[in-house]
Amino acid sequence: MKSIVIILSVLLSISLMSCGSKEEKKKEGFSYEQKSKPESTAPAKLKTVLPSERVDLTNKGIGPITSIEINTEVSQEMALKGEDIYKKMCTACHRPTKKFIGPAPLNILERRTPEWVMNMILNPEEMLQKDPLAKDLLAEFNGAPMANQNLTQEEARAVLEYFRTLK
């Protein structure tokens, strides 16, 4: 009996050692009802447009911003300031040009009104509760809520200007 134990332990330790410091082989995972990627569904049925890709240039959202003027010329000074704020306050969840925890702001003004963007920054709690598009976005992004980083209106405006420079 004892010898069996010894043999087993030796075998076990050999097998453990063989794993040792080596990188383990990557095993194939499995997939169970994984969310299908947008392009794969496209050809099949009616194309469902994801909330993040939906274009809505009338909805101004809910919050302190009811109307703002956007100059055709981008203010580089304001954009630079906005970039600095964005890096400090937003990059934990938003990459400028691709989807991360939240959507990417690239070309945002082709899809949203400037007021909607600023209200989403300044008043996310209420937006997530009441604005239909914000609600859909929350669902699309796995229930990760937009955090209120307590930016001032001026700061949010600068961030918006920075978004206009994204390519």
Binding site: K88, M89, T91, F100, I101, A144, A147, N150
Partner: protein
């Protein structure tokens, strides 16, 4: 319209009839008075009228309650480690508990006192004393955090502390036990005449509330039990009760109860301040820690100081007098006008009240009755304002309602007794359950009391609550004192021993309460203020991880290249800039507590992995719908491994 009036009057009458039925049992004077339950009911979502800061006694902490509801809001860690908040466990706050004796994880917190301006509570800071290893702490009432702890050298059983003068010029810390000063190896039997009692005056910086020891008065070797500042006309004086004027060193319950009268020591601190400012006093080598927490670096520093200025009372003529006070007086309480000094002689049948005016007169006319170690003793009859005759057994403490009444606790007869200043007549008494120690009226030890409630803090609760084994809950009781007669409204449990408390209207504090720390103001040397700042750096076997947290991920959340034998510092910054979004963090096998990090704050815990493997960490404070997803892994390799440090926050699938 008239009809409506009539109808509503009718309803009112019916309502009154019902109300009076409900109150049939109570001895309320007013037909309109509502029930006790209504008086303490603060509806869901409503705020209490008063804050009460109740010391946790031997828990070493300070608790924050609302009155009249008796609801507990927060336990502020002060002198004891608190694993929930990482106080004394994280790298930032460990220095706060440093002393000349090294790191001390516990103390006995007794007397919170709120800072004052012009004799009125200003709601800026709470000061509180540690009894055992003498220290005074300052709690900032914008953050409700302990931001300073200063050790008191030459002191032992720091009990007659930490009371503030009327403009918070000084916080005072008096020794309970007299000891050899400086400490030295000598026979205990040689106590008498050789031991000294130090009374420390800590100057407060009016801008930030910080303390420095201005001077220590070295008094005869009595026990200095409690103290209060003069106010109004007596501003500039401080009064300390003494017992064991017998200078016994053993079996004090008998040997310190021999003298018919002990003293209240009256100290003219303004006179001593002037003496010291003119170069008076003697510098004595000593050692004490001064620990300060910065809201900008979110880190405490501990500085050891090697010298203290001492003052011999005999060298400042006219600065110190002794007022004979019967039978081991405990509480030493000054009325809102500053005229009356109440000595609660705990073995005396009567309550002794001295008059400040008579004291000044007795000093001017040299009405002395001998001296103790060269300090003049004033004649009892010449300073006595009056006494409250046989109000109860075992008086301990007195507070005031600002309407000419005083309220005194009686430990042995277990009651609060209301009496009138000037006439000394007893007006009312109510039992406490049981054996009350201190009591607190919001502002009741200032020039402007808010005489609506009194909180009695009890030493014994016995059968008042559901039993919880041999150790039962500690408890306080709330009485309505707005009418002629006191009315018991509420029992509520407390943390530790509810030793003493300080209270004030919520309006003095509420609006100043900070909501978050601004990231841009964060000057922690290891802060990662954005994702771009995150990194992992190795210095020999020390590894510093600069990590961020936000709903709902850590960055980085995968770290490899850590080895057994490393000492890994996790410096974690909460990037949230919204109210009430703290995150926590805990690491499997870390020999320390979790961290609980407020928005904009950086905290650090140390992990010394002992086992090879892949070890997870996670957020401990439920932060969002994706809280359970807020986690990460650290790969720990054998010490000889050559795996490079790497870290990442994965890309989106």
């Amino acid at each position: 319209m008239k009809q409506i009036l009539k109808i509503s009057t009718g309803f009112l009458m019916i309502a009154l009839a019902f109300t009076s039925c409900n109150n049939g049992e109570s001895k309320s004077n007013s037909a309109l008075s509502s029930s006790a339950a209504e008086k303490v009911y603060v509806a869901p979502g409503e705020h209490d009228e008063f804050y009460a800061f109740i010391s946790g006694g031997f828990s070493g902490q300070l608790s924050v309650y609302g009155l009249p509801s008796g609801r507990l809001f927060k336990v502020i860690p002060v002198f004891s480690q608190d694993a929930e908040k990482a106080w004394g466990y994280n790298e930032e706050t460990k220095p706060m508990l440093n002393t000349s004796h090294g790191f001390i994880p516990w103390d006995d917190a007794h007397h919170p006192d709120i800072s004052q301006t012009a004799g009125e509570i200003d709601g800026r800071y709470v000061y509180i004393n540690a009894n055992n290893t003498p220290r005074i702490a300052k709690i900032d009432l914008t953050t409700f955090e302990t931001t300073e702890i200063i050790e008191i050298p030459n002191s032992a059983g720091n009990h007659s502390s930490s009371f503030v003068t009327e403009n918070t010029e000084y916080v005072v810390a008096g020794t309970r036990f007299s000891v050899p000063i400086p400490q030295r190896d000598m026979s205990i039997k040689d106590y008498k005449g050789n031991f000294k009692g130090s009374l420390s005056f800590l100057k407060v910086n009016p801008d930030n509330g910080e303390m420095t020891i201005k001077f220590q008065l070295l008094m005869p070797g009595f026990n200095y039990d409690l103290s209060h500042p003069g106010r109004g006309k007596s501003h500039g004086w401080f009064f300390f009760t003494t017992y064991n004027t017998e200078e016994a060193n053993s079996l004090l319950e008998v040997n310190a109860s021999q003298n018919d009268k002990d003293f209240i020591a009256a100290i003219n601190w303004k006179k001593i301040e002037e003496y010291v400012n003119n170069g008076g006093g003697t510098k004595m080598p000593t050692k004490y820690a001064h620990n300060i927490y910065s809201d900008e670096t979110h880190t405490a520093t501990s500085t050891m100081i090697n010298e203290v200025l001492t003052v011999n009372p005999l060298e400042v003529p006219g600065a110190v007098y002794l007022l004979p006070t019967p039978k081991s007086p405990h509480g030493c309480d000054v009325d809102p006008s500053g005229e009356y000094i109440v000595g609660n002689g705990k073995l005396s049948a009567n309550l002794t009240v001295h008059s400040f005016t008579k004291m000044v007169d007795a000093i001017e006319n040299k009405k002395f009755d001998g001296e103790a170690y060269g300090i003049p003793i004033l004649k009892f009859e010449d300073v006595l304002a009056g006494s409250v005759e046989q109000p109860g057994l075992g008086p301990l403490h007195t507070e005031f309602d600002g309407k000419g009444n005083a309220y005194t606790t009686f430990f042995i007869s277990s009651e609060v007794v209301k009496w009138k200043l000037g006439t000394w007549e007893v007006l009312d008494r109510k039992p406490t359950y049981y054996s009350v120690g201190h009591l607190m009226i919001p502002g009741g030890n200032s020039a402007k009391p808010f005489g609506k409630y009194v909180v009695a803090m009890n030493k014994i609760t016995k059968d008042r609550y559901l039993p919880t084994g041999p150790e039962v809950t500690q408890s306080a009781q709330l009485y309505d004192i707005s009418g002629d007669k006191m009315e018991l409204l509420l029992d509520f449990p407390t943390i530790g021993e509810p030793h003493y408390a300080a209270g004030c209207p919520a309006s003095l504090i509420e609006a100043n309460s900070k909501k978050l720390y601004k990231l841009e103001d964060n000057k922690h040397p290891y802060a990662a203020k954005s994702d771009a700042d995150t990194k992992v750096v190795r210095k020999g076997n020390e590894v510093h991880v600069q990590m961020t947290m936000i709903r709902s991920h850590f960055s980085p959340d995968n770290i490899e290249g850590i080895k057994v034998g490393d000492k890994v510092y996790f410096h974690i910054t909460n990037l949230e800039q919204d109210y009430d979004v703290p995150h926590g963090v805990a690491m499997i096998g870390a020999n320390t507590s979790e961290l609980l990090i407020m928005p904009g704050q950086t905290e650090t815990f140390v992990w010394e992995p002992k086992q090879v493997g892949v070890w997870p960490f996670y957020c401990t404070d439920f932060c969002s719908a994706l809280h359970q997803e807020m986690q990460g892994y650290v790969r720990v390799s054998p010490s000889a491994s050559n795996i490079e440090l790497s870290w990442s926050l994965g890309e989106v699938f």
